[in-house]
């Protein structure tokens, strides 16, 4: 018996996590933003934000630039082309799955 699961598009688990998806959605609509801005916008804790952004950075979906302003550290994030493509694919796949669901 063939599996119906084969017809369901693969969902990117990295993006499917709600906190990371929100961060990616924010970064998709701006050119770049720093840690403080994302912290305020997402209302996440510093630790959680840092962990999630590092995971996105490790996957090369987000470019991370660390610098100092005076003696204060500053981290700036920017969606990479790979990140945009991943987000676009995620949206396409999720739309396909949700459209196939019965009302």
């Amino acid at each position: 018996m063939s599996s119906v699961a084969l017809d369901i598009p693969q969902i990117d688990a990295l993006l499917h996590e709600p906190a990371r998806l929100r961060l990616m959605a924010f970064l998709a609509v701006v050119k770049r933003a720093d840690f403080t801005y994302l912290l305020k916008l997402s209302e996440m804790s510093k630790g959680n934000l840092s962990v999630q952004m590092n995971r996105l950075g490790d996957a090369r979906l987000v470019k991370i630039e660390k610098s100092f302003e005076g003696n204060r550290p500053r981290t700036i994030y920017q969606l990479t082309a790979q990140g945009r493509n991943a987000l676009r694919a995620y949206k396409k796949n999720m739309t396909a799955i949700l459209a196939a669901l019965p009302d």
């Binding site: 959605a25 924010f26 403080t36 082309a81």
Partner: protein
């Protein structure tokens, strides 16, 4: 890097963009600008009013970096948004220069028109013209709050004209009235948003 926006992200971008202006710094700058132009005019130095934008525009970046960014963070909007802003700001700047030229013309013609009853109403015209700029700003940054400033400028301009106030006094009053909510918004923002450090939690 290609800056292709994802489809249907307009609503998120619009919300983020609108939130960017909610700290009250632009309000304070607008009020200070109107007040300073009025003050120059009041002391018979209308040409000095031309230097107000030249003083405010360069002050914007450092003020934002010092007061807002340590609390709210830094964000750069898309190239498309920045291009749209630049052309709108250019339009607003040209319109502002037009208002100023009109005001200076009035200033030099005031002795000749002094006996004309319509001159008293014309005194409110610069404030009414600045109200139009406030409406344009409200549209540009999607912030209805600037419509209130437009109403203040138009209201003070018309009333001041009827009561025979000089243009400088009208603008100084309008700027002072605008400064009250503008300062309140900025102070509330700074009180509610402590400086954030990126240091490890």
């Amino acid at each position: 890097m290609g800056e292709v926006m994802l489809e249907n992200t307009g609503a998120i971008e619009q919300r983020v963009y609108r939130a960017y202006w909610n700290d009250g710094l632009l309000d304070v700058f607008a009020a200070a600008g109107v007040f300073a132009i009025g003050l120059f005019w009041l002391f018979d130095l209308p040409v000095g009013a031309a230097f107000v934008p030249a003083w405010l525009v360069p002050a914007w970046g450092p003020c934002r970096r010092r007061l807002i960014e340590p609390r709210l963070g830094m964000v750069e909007f898309s190239d498309a948004r920045q291009r749209r802003n630049t052309s709108m700001l250019r339009l607003i700047l040209y319109a502002g220069i037009g208002c100023l030229i009109l005001g200076i013309e009035m200033y030099f013609l005031r002795d000749r028109l002094g006996q004309n009853p319509s001159m008293t109403l014309i005194a409110g015209l610069p404030a009414v013209l600045l109200a139009l700029l406030a409406i344009a700003t409200a549209a540009l940054i999607a912030t209805p709050r600037f419509l209130v400033y437009a109403a203040v400028l138009a209201g003070v301009g018309t009333t001041g004209g009827i009561f025979g106030l000089r243009p400088g006094m009208i603008l100084a009053i309008a700027g002072s009235v605008m400064a009250v909510p503008a300062t309140a918004i900025l102070v509330r923002f700074m009180r509610n948003n402590a400086i954030v450090s990126e240091d490890a939690p």
